[in-house]
């Protein structure tokens, strides 16, 4: 077996992804992705819209199965798990959805209490303490009685984070935690991710296309494009990289190896034909 390129010893790797391929119908989405995510680190996965980042998280979380390749989380092969074993594993990892996915019929307090009520038998007074502690961590203790529809985008993101850490998972996957937030909220979320990682030792995977914010908080970064890993290294290394593809993404250039246009027939021909679309 190859040593992971980021120099991690084998049992130091929490999520081990080897040559994973995945297609939707005939369309390949991931064309051989290999990653090694170190225990206790914050790992960034960056890449353009539609390059398969969310798909990759769903593969790690076991809601999708790869066509080929291996996905190991804490030494357990995720695609081979039975539903019961998968649920056991999921109690130890959390996925923060792009949309937050709070339960709209439950208050903030009940949202955070939900996984605790489902998986433990804590008596009510202790449960209340635990929930309030989680809400305090994200700064929403005072908002406990609000319904999700009464929260701003940034607050909803933080509330979802409080729910994600309710069972103290070993790993949290964040899907686009920064999108649609103002600079201050971005900073708050970034700081939270870092703090949770340091104080609770939670391994974090941050999927984002926000280069600046993500590089700031991550220990290691992967850059995805076209279903493959285009570059990897510490954020500084990736930012210095000479690869044209990496340069284009990091500097936000509109055209380059990643074409601006969705594949199409010749422009002039398309415009001058008038009988059919």
């Amino acid at each position: 077996m190859n040593q992971p390129r980021n120099g991690a010893a084998k049992d130091d790797v929490l999520v081990d992804i080897r040559d994973v391929q995945f297609a939707r119908g005939d369309r390949p989405i991931l064309k051989g992705v290999t990653m090694a995510i170190r225990r206790g680190s914050v790992t960034a996965i960056m890449g353009g819209s539609g390059c398969g980042k969310t798909t990759l998280l769903n593969l790690i979380g076991g809601s999708l199965k790869p066509d080929s390749g291996a996905i190991l989380v804490d030494g357990i092969s995720v695609p081979d798990l039975s539903t019961n074993d998968l649920f056991e594993l999921r109690k130890r990892m959390a996925l923060l959805f792009q949309t937050g996915a709070l339960f709209t019929d439950l208050s903030l307090f009940e949202n955070v209490a939900f996984p605790i009520r489902e998986h433990t038998r804590l008596p009510e007074p202790i449960l209340r303490k635990v929930v309030l502690m989680k809400l305090e961590t994200v700064g929403l203790r005072g908002a406990r009685d609000l319904m999700p529809s009464e929260l701003s985008g940034g607050m909803a993101r933080r509330a979802a984070l409080a729910r994600a850490i309710a069972l103290e998972p070993m790993m949290i996957m964040y899907d686009e935690p920064f999108t649609g937030l103002d600079p201050i909220s971005k900073g708050v979320i970034g700081k939270l991710i870092r703090e949770l990682n340091q104080s609770l030792g939670i391994t974090s995977i941050v999927v984002s296309h926000d280069v600046a914010e993500t590089c700031l908080i991550s220990d290691y970064a992967y850059l995805m494009g076209d279903g493959r890993i285009m570059g990897e290294g510490t954020p500084a290394e990736v930012q210095r990289s000479g690869s044209e593809h990496v340069r284009q993404f990091m500097d936000g250039l509109p055209d380059g190896p990643v074409p601006y246009q969705y594949p199409a027939e010749a422009y002039l021909e398309d415009l001058t034909r008038w009988n059919k679309h």
Partner: protein
Amino acid sequence: MEQALNSLANLGRIFLDAIGRLGRAALFLFEVVRAARVLVRRHFLVIQQVYAVGVLTLLIILVSGLFVGMVLGLQGYNTLVRFGAEESLGLVVALSLVRELGPVVTALLFAGRAGSALTAEIGLMKATEQLAGMEMMAVNPIVRVIAPRFLAGLVAMPLLAALFSAIGVLGGHLVGVGLLGVDAGAFWSQMQDGVDFNDDIVNGVIKSAVFGFICTWIAVFEGYDAVPTSEGVARATNRTVVYSSLSVLTLDFILTSLMLGEI
């Protein structure tokens, strides 16, 4: 020629689609029933949903029941009085309600009110990734969300149909005895003599239970199977009402002919 082939292909696609949906619905039902066993320990989840269904439908059922009963009183009296049999009004009203109108109209109202709400609720939970989120929290949404609602529908329908019939009888009494001067004693005693427990009441309860099963199954399945967009949920809600109504009316004919044993 090409067009004929195309429409044939389309027809085939629609047919295959329908078969596929039926298969998914059957598998889904199997999973829901399996999940329902877990709810013996967590029956408060079901009770919560019975309450929700009740809040949604109780008022509309009571009001409709009252008016249907009143109309039955009017129509029944008008026909019966021609034969001098207006004393039997109580019997006519009660039998029509218990055997037919109670279960059928309640089921139609139930599909329109509670069924569509169920589909929309579950569909939206799917569209906003709440169901996927639940699964990622190692909670099975079939157990936590679907099965309690399914069981609640099963429990609620016969109760609602019984209420509908009861209030309908009162409506008939209001019009027949109160307005048209039918003798109150005859109204009740004819009803007591003529309504048979097994043939009428039990059969009516069986009907409403079957309708409750079908309507709730369709409602939760359409929600769970909805295309997770706002348009998809709207379509699914629409389908719930249409399919439920059609199934109720079709099944009513089948059940009635079985119960009367005449076909």
